[in-house]
């Protein structure tokens, strides 16, 4: 019994300790002339690059707006927290942001974290705009909106493009089975493509999170009569697949999705492997558009010459979308925000962003058009 007693004491001690640590952790006063935008994404862990892009992209927009005099007399402040792309950490990150006194939420960056975050912002009735959470459920609640395309939309768009424009009827798929994004696009693609009359050959080939060897999948495809390969995955895996496809002597046209953004950089000296590949993206850094070039320059100046990707552009647009909604709802005091009116305002705005011109419907989805990109001479080129 003695040990039992000791354990119980320890529980109690721990509890008391917790109280000690926790007391006095409450956030300070709230300045009505500073509007705090909470932002989150992974800046550590294997998805660190996405969160870093989102943070840097959003910061450029915030700085621009503040330099131009702010919004309705308020200055913006971006408060960022790391969520390691996990729902568990997203919940923790959000609570630390709440203690900072955030007023609106730009995030999260990845789908799983965005869904977990959605449960919390919904309870607070806070406006949530996710730059890049593409899973269907990210905008489940009325207070949630997104800047990027949904996974199913990408899948159906590419299915139509490959079948109607490229006239391919037999397509092979390699997708990441451990990844929601990749799976979501695959499902929608498969459905649309077969509906159009096309055929998936051989049955869609998957790989897991830790896989580095894709030769089995590629050889299965090589021995089928596929006319093209669709790879809805992120650029790291795509680069590895392109390398191994070359070694396996597989010479078919490649198609992809917006996760391909960054593939040329990853391929380094082997850019030729991606030559002719076609994918869909809302943003290309070498788009001659003036606004895009201005953003790219500002981003490079602020981040040691790093080129912004679509995550950065989505986050940049996200800040402008929030600002537009704040103007529409006439918010002038960050301590007195009518969240219902702010959320309502989202459906009434139209924003000309880097990733396209967009309006939002009540379900939280953006209406905007995609760009089809082709790799020509080792450069991303917008296809007309």
């Amino acid at each position: 019994m003695k040990k039992t007693v000791k354990s119980v004491t320890a529980v109690l001690l721990a509890a008391v300790m917790m109280t000690g640590v926790m007391a006095g952790c409450n956030g300070g006063g709230d300045d009505p002339k500073v509007l705090k935008i909470g932002c989150m994404g992974p800046i550590t862990g294997e998805n660190a690059s996405y969160g870093t892009s989102v943070r840097n992209g959003a910061q450029i927009a915030v700085d621009e707006i503040n330099a131009a005099g702010g919004v309705n007399g308020m200055t913006l402040e971006l408060v960022f927290a790391d969520d390691e792309a996990s729902p568990e950490k997203a919940k923790n990150a959000f609570s630390s942001l709440m203690d900072e006194g955030i007023d609106v939420m730009l995030g999260a960056t990845t789908t799983d974290a965005t869904i977990a975050l959605g449960e919390l912002t919904q309870q607070e009735n806070m406006l949530q705009v996710t730059p890049s959470g593409s899973g269907q459920d990210c905008t489940k609640y009325d207070n949630a909106f997104r800047i990027c395309f949904t996974d199913p939309l990408q899948g159906t768009t590419m299915a139509e493009y490959i079948y109607n424009t490229m006239k391919k009827t037999k397509v092979a798929i390699i997708y990441d089975n451990s990844n929601d994004y990749s799976k979501g696009i695959t499902e929608a693609f498969r459905q649309k493509f077969t509906e159009l009359g096309g055929q998936i050959v051989p049955d869609a080939q998957s790989f897991g999170k830790d896989d580095v060897d894709f030769t089995a999948q590629l050889n299965n495809i090589k021995n089928s009569d596929a006319e093209a390969i669709f790879i809805p995955a992120y650029y790291q895996k795509v680069s590895a697949i392109l390398q191994q496809a070359d070694k396996a002597g597989l010479d078919l046209p490649f198609f992809g999705c917006d996760g391909w953004d960054g593939v040329l950089n990853q391929l380094g000296d082997d850019k030729a492997l991606a030559e002719g590949a076609i994918f869909l993206t809302p943003f290309a850094a070498n788009d001659p558009d003036e606004a895009v070039q201005k953003f790219v320059k500002a981003y490079q100046d602020a981040n040691d010459g790093a080129t912004p990707d679509q995550f950065a552009a989505d986050a940049y647009d996200g800040v402008y979308v929030i600002v537009e909604a704040l103007k529409k709802a006439n918010v002038t005091d960050s301590t007195k925000i009518d969240n219902d009116a702010l959320i309502q305002a989202m459906t009434q705005i139209s924003v000309k962003g880097l990733t396209g011109d967009m309006t939002f419907d009540a379900s939280g989805e953006p209406n905007k058009s995609a760009k089809i990109i082709e790799v020509v001479n080792g450069e991303y080129t917008v296809r007309k």
Partner: protein, 292 residues
């Protein structure tokens, strides 16, 4: 048939890499009676050393591999001296937890130094591969297989023919008796770690040339699979490690090709559990009776 042969060759390629890593596990287990969990991460150390040498210092590939081998061997010996040697007479639980700690330490140090982003290894070998009829064998596969066979033969000769090799056998049989016979046990254990880690460096080079991209956690999964290979072949047995590695690589590739790409990992781990249930000492392992 053509697909089957191509898949088989792919399996041999992965399997050879597993086999080289498994050799390290098996040798260390045989001599130090410990499961060196950090062994998989040594291939990461090797791969990054070669990467830095080739891409930053512009050292020729073969010299870079040699540097990688030396660095890994030093790592292996130092890790053993600092982390494992003080624990030689403690329970296997203690040693195992320490080894897991070392594995995490290597991964996270590399994360801090090199970052999360995968690095692209410049081509180490320039060899186009061969066509056998209509079956294409990539150059990397041929080099990997050749290297594995050569290393295997050299290692067998070393252990059976040289004095140091025989000392290793003696220590693995009975540490106390070996010491009484005038064998320097500490030095023999160090040598084992050095050789095992050097082999891991070779595996790292072959891995990088086959899969191009390297990242700080590359050794974790590969290491676990290689360990399964070692267990499959019977841990402590050198031909067993070779055999287990090749079998595992082939099984993995064929199950991806013919059963399901989704559950091939579950199949691999399932086989491990089955083998341990039916033959707890592995396919080629010796049975030992536990005494008080």
């Amino acid at each position: 048939m053509e697909n089957f042969l191509t898949q088989l060759i792919g399996g041999l390629n992965v399997g050879s890499i597993y086999a080289l890593i498994a050799l390290g596990y098996t040798m260390v287990y045989g001599i130090a009676k410990m499961l060196n969990f950090a062994h998989g991460d040594i291939i990461m150390v090797g791969a990054y050393t070669i990467f830095v040498a080739v891409s930053s210092a512009h050292v020729p590939p073969y010299l870079a591999i040699l540097i990688g081998i030396i660095v890994c061997a030093v790592f292996g010996v130092v890790i053993e001296k600092i982390a494992y040697k003080p624990l030689r007479n403690t329970s296997s639980l203690t040693v195992l937890i320490t080894a897991i700690g070392v594995s995490y330490l290597l991964q996270n140090l590399s994360l801090l130094i090199f970052g999360e982003q995968e690095k692209s290894m410049p081509a180490l070998f320039h060899f186009d591969g061969l066509m056998f009829g209509s079956v294409r064998v990539p150059g990397e596969t041929i080099i990997t297989l050749a290297a594995t066979v050569v290393i295997m033969i050299a290692l067998t000769l070393f252990i059976n023919k040289t004095k140091a090799g025989k000392a290793m056998l003696a220590v693995s049989e009975d540490k106390g008796a070996a010491e009484l016979m005038g064998i320097n046990v500490n030095r023999t254990i160090s040598l084992t770690f050095a050789i095992g880690s050097a082999l891991a460096a070779v595996a790292g080079a072959l891995y990088a040339s086959s899969y191009v991209y390297i990242k700080p956690t590359m050794g974790a999964m590969t290491g676990i699979k290689a360990f399964i290979a070692a267990v499959l072949g019977g841990i402590g047995s050198i031909p067993g490690a070779m055999f287990g590695g090749l079998v595992l690589g082939i099984v993995e590739n064929l199950s991806k090709a013919y059963i399901s790409t989704q559950i091939s990992d579950a199949i691999v781990f399932g086989i491990l559990i089955l083998v341990l249930l039916i033959r707890p000492t592995g396919l080629l392992g010796k049975k030992r009776i536990e005494k008080v």
